[in-house]
Symmetry: C2
Subunit: 198 residues, 2 copies
Amino acid sequence: MIKIYDLELSGNCHKVRLMSALLGVEYELIPVDLLGGEHKSPQFLQLNPLGQIPVIVDNDIIIRDSQAILVYLARKYGNEDWLPLDAESMAKVMQWLSFAAHEINNSVFIARLYFRFNMDVDWESAQAKGKQVMQIMNEHLQHRDWLELDRPTIADIACYPYVGLAPEGKVSLDDYPNVIAWIERIKQLPGYIGMPGL
Amino acid sequence: MIKIYDLELSGNCHKVRLMSALLGVEYELIPVDLLGGEHKSPQFLQLNPLGQIPVIVDNDIIIRDSQAILVYLARKYGNEDWLPLDAESMAKVMQWLSFAAHEINNSVFIARLYFRFNMDVDWESAQAKGKQVMQIMNEHLQHRDWLELDRPTIADIACYPYVGLAPEGKVSLDDYPNVIAWIERIKQLPGYIGMPGL
């Protein structure tokens, strides 16, 4: 059984919970007290010097970073279903892991920090970027059911939580019907689990 | 021969040029006029809806995003030398692609934009984050020659350009001797090529 160092309200942690559930991998959640600063404690920094959640521990293997954990879970427990190995397919999926780490993180993720957690961030800039990011996804999904390869991959799982949570950062999805339809498709996947706000 | 849509001063483009050179892949550079806004032109947005460089075109395959391109080149032209396929190794490498896309991008990359390109960014915040990021890398490299797996991988190539260019953003590397030694190791790789500032 893998251990997931977790925060219930974290979309990055939800990527890991959701991927584990979709793969049928059993996991134990270990809550990390972010408000209490546990993620900056010496013990936690041993697990992840970046002081971030999620982290997984699978026997003696420790992996940080939600995108890297998706790669790990897909390779270890998912054959090539969720992450194919040929150069073109893998790179196309990777494009969206970077999109999740950068474009989504610097937009709807930040906007949600402001409205959901009262954090001191530039929400106006984040909301404006969020609309651009949603527009790009909406156009990309106009003639596609999934982000790449005509099937669900870790690309979709990497992007899903913070896109689905965008309304919590006051970025409405009403203008992006293809994004809404994609979210609904993800919610229909066998084994799907939700989180507060999704 | 692959085509690289390129800007000489871009560290993200240099990741692609350098990886191609290390792999012995022939490439043609196609300069993109960012000052003239060519990356936002309808023609370029056909290649990359995000309006960013680099993009590569390999026959009919189009890949955007420097991290995804590293994955593509490593898988297509590098066997498992630069990107191994077992779950643990691949995920460990992936951790650093996210680190490049997020931590490095939001710190030393931004600081360089201010001092090198006079862009309107929060350089104080970027420099402060840059020192944290360099400290994390310096500690990680204390007992290691390479970021993961005791050999050069795309993890190193993804992180290298903007770390090496950090002094252009007035983030001195003098306090991070392990980072400096790692940079020198990369410069010794067979086939290495530089760029202005490196």
